[in-house]
């Protein structure tokens, strides 16, 4: 199945740059973006629109004695100042989270993290709104803070959520997967056991566009039009109906062009709700857009997992079992976004790409005085943490066994004949042929030559490292019998309509944040019904005009909505067959399909194109019995399983021994995401994720001082790679289609973000081998690398 060439494209009018269906195709959305004609949230201006601003807590934990809004209300341009008390009156002070908890919309009793929402000002313009924040006087009574998750369960720790009746500690949940006893049995008899604490620090998705909303409530017909930076417009509509008590048919959520999401724009933030309240209170549209510090300090962070990993193996390098205990810092409210049944997301993918005898994990979630969130930043519901843990641990084992890390991996990879593969924590991997992917990465890298170069450099005292990671993802959540978010099954809808002149429109429940949906989904329709992609309009991001579905995150667009679009297109094609048969006065079973056309078997001259069929469908043709006069179809796709894309990554770094500065010299990424729809877009998704990985491995972190002050609250301190920190990516691919997906596609949005951090860290640790370093935690900043060289590698949190 692997190493097949890119699928031959079927060019339109003989033009290779215009494939009908799959192939490299320039993006349909680009012409507006390159002209500055994208339409983002902050570009929206409605008549009479007001501006909101949020007053936030300057401290991490304090009781609110009083809030005085008199002076702010006296500001000539201020129309309203809303506090938690006002919201209590409306029953809106607390909103349900996506994890069966509640989150304060505006603080009533106390503030629980620095940056928490305390009051909302609505003013004539954004400058006045900002000015008025300074006129609100809040009296805080400081409380002891819980910052270090390791101390959150101490008996004397302050209780973050003491408003919950009967709660006396900060424990949220314990969750287990795998078989503890079977795993212990393997460990007890293992020849070799390695163990390490591996920390995945708190990071942030930080899309270039911050979050925001424009709420427009029409008091006369009771309809709320809510423009939001959301990756999941339909889920938001339903949740707003539940939270705000507005009937769902009176809510229209519009998600305009989104300036990057990466999971940051999944949740419903207090600011969105406040914009709605502001609009209801003032009777005018209200815009709220957060600034960068608000984004970094209060919206969904990612990771924050302290993991103790253990691997049991034989002396000759057969990995037998993996187990881990995790302390998960969820911040002040449990607001992680993941399928209900899985409080640690898909962390139980920590068995990785290896054929194990046993595995077990236990995850404990705790409250701290930090911002809520935890599932974001292209994480595939915490497969990032899982893959980082296992790929770091396998390297630690390789070091212990003095084995080459690639040889150790190849020895343990799941073999092609084992698929579908049931792992030891409950997953069924759909398809894979791992070893050729690993070998292709080695070949592109020139792995043996790199190892020779490294040996020479080591002899000269130079620090060069080669890091490897082999990852398997699980994406495309998911089957409704297993997966829901607040009770909503994780399915997605698509509707295809072919117009009389043979042009088509496809409506999606998922929402692009830059992934190129307008192109990819047009290509899927084109592949199925033979209408060129440029003749297909893709509509998304408007709940009044698209079918219901849960949205774009967890790499689900292609696996779930892609399935819906393919199946809806096939329905159209099947219906077209019936109509073509009527046109040709023959039986449907006597017709054969070639891209874009039904023709009579054995008589290719006798046929009808999709355009001809479409016109006849809407025309005067007498339609066959039971066939109505349209070429439309709608499908809600319930995937039978998740998809399991994978890849092999190799990173080469050079470290300045005098300063500890790490330079990523090369990065080789070979991905297998099954069927490839648009190779250009796939490569772009991979590049972006690799950059995330370099960022997290080397510089990104949201840390706190011991008072709970956020130390990563601006782009001066939350560092994201520039063009100078990343190399020219070297990519390759293999193709192993998913056997259960309608087009065999597996999803690619998060693979590189998941797979690249361990490759970079493994390279750094490999470079530091002469110093006896076997592990260091991210981010590998110059100071932390230097400390590791001194034998003082410390966790960042």
């Amino acid at each position: 199945m692997t190493l097949v060439e890119e699928r031959e494209s079927n060019p339109a009018a003989g033009d290779a740059a215009r494939p009908i269906g799959f192939g490299r195709l320039q993006r349909k959305e680009d012409p507006r973006f390159v002209r500055g004609k994208g339409h983002y949230l902050d570009d929206i201006v409605l008549p009479g629109m007001l501006h909101g601003a949020i007053l936030r807590s300057p401290v991490a934990h304090a009781r609110i004695r009083s809030i005085d809004t008199t002076e702010a209300l006296a500001h000539p341009k201020v129309l309203a100042v809303i506090t938690g008390k006002d919201l209590e009156g409306l029953g809106l002070a607390w909103a349900p989270t996506l994890s069966a908890d509640v989150q304060a919309v505006l603080a009533t009793d106390k503030v629980r993290f620095q940056g928490q929402e305390v009051a909302f000002v609505v003013a004539e313009d954004r400058y006045a709104a900002r000015d008025a924040l300074e006129l609100i006087d809040v009296d805080y009574d400081l409380l002891p803070v819980v910052i270090d998750a390791r101390k959150a369960l101490d008996p004397d720790a302050a209780v973050v959520r003491d408003e919950i009746e009967g709660r006396t500690d900060n424990h949220i949940f314990d969750w287990e997967a795998g078989d503890a006893a079977a795993t212990e049995a393997v460990f007890a008899n293992a020849e070799v056991v390695v163990s390490e604490e591996v920390v995945y620090p708190r990071v942030h998705p930080a899309p270039m566009e911050t979050c925001g909303a424009v709420a427009d409530y029409d008091a006369v017909d009771g309809k709320l039009t809510l423009y939001e930076t959301t990756q999941a417009p339909h889920a938001h509509r339903t949740l707003f109906a539940i939270v705000a008590g507005i009937p769902e048919h009176k809510i229209r959520v519009i998600s305009p062009d989104i300036g990057g999401g990466f999971g940051n724009k999944v949740g419903i933030y207090p600011g969105y709700i406040l914009a709605v309240v502001g609009s209801i209170v003032t009777g005018r549209p209200v815009k709220w857009v957060e600034d960068r510090s608000e984004n970094l300090m209060s919206t969904s962070f990612a990771r924050d997992y302290i993991m103790r990993g253990e691997v049991a193996a034989t002396k000759d390098g057969r990995i037998l079992a993996v187990r881990t205990t995790v302390l998960a810092d969820h911040g002040a409210f449990n607001a992680t976004a993941q399928p209900t049944k899985y409080p640690a997301g898909f962390f139980h993918m920590f068995t990785g790409s290896y054929d194990l005898q046993a595995a077990h994990c236990k995850v404990t979630g705790v409250y701290t005085n930090k911002a809520p969130g935890g599932v974001a930043y292209a994480c595939s519901f915490r497969v990032t943490e899982a893959v980082y843990l296992v790929e770091r641990m396998v390297d630690i084992l390789a070091d212990k066994l003095e084995m080459d890390p690639i040889q150790l991996r190849i020895k343990n990879l799941i073999r092609p004949e084992q698929f579908p593969y049931a792992n030891k924590t409950g997953w069924e991997y759909d398809s894979g042929d791992y070893e050729p992917t690993m070998r292709l990465a080695m070949e592109i890298a020139g792995y043996d030559e790199l190892r020779r170069e490294q040996a020479e450099k080591r002899a000269r005292g130079e620090l060069m490292g080669i890091g490897v990671a082999f990852f398997t993802e699980t994406v495309g959540a998911g089957p409704r019998k297993h997966m829901d978010i607040v009770g909503l099954g994780m399915n997605d809808g698509a509707e295809v309509r072919v117009h009389p002149t043979g042009k088509a429109v496809v409506r999606l429940s998922v929402q692009s944040q830059g992934q190129g949906h307008e192109t990819t989904f047009a290509q899927i329709v084109a592949e199925e019904i033979g209408i060129p992609p440029e003749d297909i309009e893709v509509i998304h991001g408007d709940t009044d005009n698209t079918p219901f579905g849960l949205g774009t995150y967890g790499s689900r667009s292609t696996p779930v909505s892609g399935g819906a679009v393919a199946l809806a297109s096939r329905k159209v094609r099947d219906k077209a067959r019936l109509i073509a048969a009527a046109m040709l006065e023959t039986r449907p079973e006597d017709l054969e399909w070639e891209k874009g056309r039904w023709f009579v078997k054995g008589d290719p001259e006798q046929g009808k194109t999709m355009a001809e069929i479409a016109f006849a469908t809407h025309g005067t043709l007498t339609l066959p019995e039971g066939v109505d006069g349209n070429l439309d179809a709608e499908v809600t796709y319930d995937p039978p399983n998740l998809t399991f894309p994978y890849g092999a990554y190799i990173c080469v770094v050079d470290i300045d021994p005098g300063t500890g500065h790490v330079k990523v010299r090369r990065f080789i990424a070979v991905d297998d995401c099954g069927t490839r729809i648009n190779p250009m877009i796939i490569e772009g998704q991979v590049h972006g994720g690799l950059t995330d990985g370099v960022g997290m491995a080397l510089m990104e972190i949201i840390s706190f001082d011991d008072q709970g002050n956020c130390l990563g609250g601006s782009f001066m301190d939350y560092l994201i790679p520039t063009a100078m920190e990343v190399p020219d990516w070297e990519t390759g691919f293999t193709v192993t289609p998913s056997p259960h997906h309608p087009i065999g596609a597996k999803g690619i949005g998060e693979s590189a973000t998941v797979g690249s951090p361990p490759a970079v860290v493994n390279a750094v640790v490999d470079a530091l081998q002469p110093f006896g370093v076997t592990h260091m935690d991210m981010p590998c900043t110059p100071a932390r690398v230097w400390a590791a060289m001194q034998g003082r590698a410390t966790p960042p949190i």
């Binding site: 993006r27 300036g259 972006g688 601006s714 020219d728």
Partner: protein
């Protein structure tokens, strides 16, 4: 105060408070929303426009400071229906995904090519190093700018 500046070749006068940032003036005063913003600390470069031909971060320039100067935004890159080679290059080489940083990146690219028509990869990377892209990983942006260098406009683009 009255602020007059030339924007994309047109003289424009608007009233604005002295504290109004150039980025807000362009977006809200003049209604040219192609220029975006992404941070508060002059780090991200999303708001880059050309001031007298040089890239500047419009979040760290007051509208008042730009009075009397020549500003070029993404809306002034194309010549009518004819795209600037930089715009064409970004489409050819997938130099954008969400499109949010793209206007700033393209304007910096235009200024770079005006100064150095044949930049190498290192020069391009340096030129865009004050601007963050969260989507592309930069390699395709570098390729886009190289594409523009290799396909210069046949005629001088006048605005």
């Amino acid at each position: 105060m009255q602020i007059t500046m030339t924007v994309n070749g047109k003289e424009m006068t608007r009233e604005a408070e002295p504290r109004v940032l150039l980025v807000h003036h362009i977006r809200e005063g003049l209604g040219l929303t192609g220029t975006h913003w992404g941070c508060d600390t002059s780090n991200c470069g999303t708001c880059v426009v050309l001031m007298d031909g040089q890239p500047v971060k419009a979040c760290t320039v007051l509208a008042a400071m730009a009075a009397g100067h020549d500003i070029r935004t993404v809306e002034g890159l194309a010549n009518g229906a004819t795209l600037d080679p930089v715009q064409q290059g970004f489409m050819e080489e997938h130099g954008l995904q969400c499109g949010f940083c793209t206007p700033g990146m393209m304007l910096t690219a235009r200024a770079l090519l005006d100064k150095n028509p044949d930049p190498d990869e290192t020069e391009i990377r340096e030129a865009i190093s004050g601007q963050i892209c969260r989507c592309t990983g930069y390699a395709t942006i570098v390729r886009s700018i190289r594409w523009a260098a290799e396909h210069p406009a046949t005629e001088e683009v006048s605005v």
